[in-house]
């Protein structure tokens, strides 16, 4: 089957990122494919290139990066949710004259349409709420 995941929480106040990551690995281990992971709401923090937790904690952005690059998964971060929460790529940083960019490699900013497309076109969309 072809799966898509929607992730609405990050490390700070939610377990969503961690649960979604473990679920994604199990989907792939079960022989299914994942076409897209869509990060929305506070889930956009999963795509920060600047998160740097202590050694004894998981660095979720790095884990996602490794997973999506190894399996060629589309990792999409909702652009409106990201701008609101301070996650930007080089293009948006330039457009809005922001002093830096912090979208980790392997992720791309795009619109909510990508979430709706996944809902309609994949066999299963599984949501991980905050």
């Amino acid at each position: 089957m072809n799966y898509a995941l929607a992730v609405y929480g990050a490390t700070g106040n939610s377990q969503a990122g961690q649960t979604a990551l473990s679920f994604a690995k199990a989907v792939l281990a079960s022989g299914h494919s994942i076409s897209r992971i869509f990060f929305y709401q506070d889930g956009v923090q999963n795509a920060s290139s600047l998160s740097n937790p202590p050694q004894d904690e998981v660095n979720l952005p790095s884990e996602w990066q490794a997973l999506v690059q190894q399996h060629g998964i589309d990792a999409v971060v909702c652009i409106a949710a990201a701008l609101r929460r301070g996650i930007v790529d080089a293009g948006e940083a330039e457009r809005y004259q922001l002093p830096a960019n912090n979208l980790a490699e392997g992720f791309e900013l795009s619109g909510l349409g990508q979430l709706l497309e996944s809902l309609i076109e994949t066999d299963r969309l599984i949501t991980f709420g905050a």
Partner: protein, 120 residues
């Protein structure tokens, strides 16, 4: 995309965070792709339709104004779970009249028919 219909469930209160606003955005985008889109308000989500909101006090964007224009965007079906109203001691007259009330098992019955659902 095909003509599959989409159902958005929104159960967050309007002004705590961005949850309610971002659920509504998802519904609007769905409708903008000409997908038949319904919105179901349950739990604290019913507060989104409470009349006489004045979020400029905070200040926040007025969600109620977005609900008033839902039909323009092609969303003509907003369902409200009547039990969620009753638990909050709300009368249906206290809400902006743009919705259909689902009584009893109405929400359960409706959701069982929907193949494509997004929870918020």
């Amino acid at each position: 995309m095909s003509q599959t219909s989409v159902c958005i469930i929104s159960s967050q209160s309007p002004y705590r965070g961005q949850g309610a606003r971002e659920a509504l955005d998802a519904a609007l985008v769905s409708a903008s792709y000409d997908l038949p889109t319904s919105l179901v308000l349950m739990g604290d989500g019913v507060y989104q339709l409470l009349d006489h909101q004045a979020p400029d006090q905070l200040p926040r964007k007025n969600l109620l104004a977005m609900f008033k224009s839902l039909e323009l965007y092609g969303i003509d079906t907003v369902y409200v779970d009547s039990e969620s109203l009753a638990e909050r001691g709300l009368e249906s007259e206290q809400l902006l009249p743009v919705y259909t009330l689902l009584e009893g098992d109405g929400v359960a019955t409706f959701l069982a028919t929907q193949a494509k659902v997004l929870n918020f």
